[in-house]
């Protein structure tokens, strides 16, 4: 896993890109805990979100869960291939399983999120 990833306590990850955008997905732990995924609803491009706001929903055979924005900003890109290939979230959660790209209002917000070791400790607790 790339060291530059940051994690929200709600299990979304975020990766700062050289372009200034923030790529967002959900952690391998969260995907495994949800079990078999059956449906995903993504946000529209252009939507402005605040950190902690819902940006979509994902349904597994057991549960519907909200996906939360780990940082505030504007959604500028959505992985439209994902709802038709939900298995990608399990096979490549930190790569092809990305969900949205956000243009952050304040890039320093990412530093407030958990680093890899802190997130690992959270999911083991």
């Amino acid at each position: 896993m790339a060291a530059e990833l940051r994690f929200a306590k709600s299990h979304e990850w975020v990766r700062p890109e050289a372009s200034g955008l923030a790529t967002v997905g959900i952690s391998a732990y969260a995907v495994e805990a949800l079990t078999d995924l059956v449906f995903m609803q993504l946000p529209p491009v252009g939507k402005k979100v605040k950190a902690g706001e819902s940006i979509g929903e994902i349904e597994s055979v057991k549960a519907v869960s909200d996906l939360y924005a780990p940082v505030s900003g504007e959604i500028v890109e959505v992985n439209t291939a994902l709802p038709g290939a939900l298995e990608t979230l399990g096979t490549d959660p930190y790569g092809a399983g990305w969900i949205v790209r956000i243009k952050p209002d304040d890039a320093s917000e990412m530093a407030k999120l958990l680093d890899q070791s802190a997130y690992d400790a959270l999911v083991k607790s």
Binding site: S10, A33, L34, T35, D36, V38, F39, Q41, G52, E57, E59, S60, V61, K62, A63, V64, S65, D66, Y68
Partner: protein, 262 residues
Amino acid sequence: MTSVLPVWWDGPADGPTNMAADELLADEALRRCSPVVRVYGWTEPTVSLGAFQPLADAMGCEAIAGLPLVRRPSGGGAILHGTDLTYAVAVPKAHPWGQTPQVLYDAMHETMAATLRDLGIAARLHAPSGDDPPATVFLCFRRRSPGDLVAAMPGRPPQADDPKVMGSAQRRLGSAVVQHGSLLLGPNTAVGPEARDGGLAAVDSAGRRWASGELASSWLERVAARLGARLAPQGHPVGEPPLGGLAERSRHFASAAWTGRR
């Protein structure tokens, strides 16, 4: 250790009111920092759709034509309420039962299986098999997922196609989890025969007429015991003071925008 398990024995209500009350239950779980349970009925036979089931699938099902319909915030398949024991349990995500979906699912289903076995029903948790119907099947009781409650038919050893008698589904909110569930007591004659399942009546060699009250009490005593708690019946329906907010939330679940979201 949780010292009490608060339980609301709510009477019958319409679909939007029941969904709103279940959502309020999450607030109550967070306020108390503990699991809370609600057992309730329906004023008339009602279809509840899973959060993302296409409304067109319900419109195309002739067996349920004309019945009131409400969309749940939780996932899963359509349930035909009216001859079932319906419950909701809400748990803070920080609680051991709230951390992953399967834990809460199993806690509620294992305790019900034990309760039913004491009553002579050969109930068990479903183990997945390659022959399970797909998760897109319209009716909840025609689906199978790991941990669903199934029961062997009278006079027959357990088999892979034993009928499902109980299913549950969750809505995982920011800080809490709400799980809805339904134990089918007997066939629902308000729906056409092609959508009718037998429930407990079909797997009971004694041919008993099942009612929810005493069965729910026995079950929830087991749930409470598993938590190391005692049952604490609440003296007012969910949504009445001190909780409040029921009417406003009900309007959301009654809206065409919510029902037709997919």
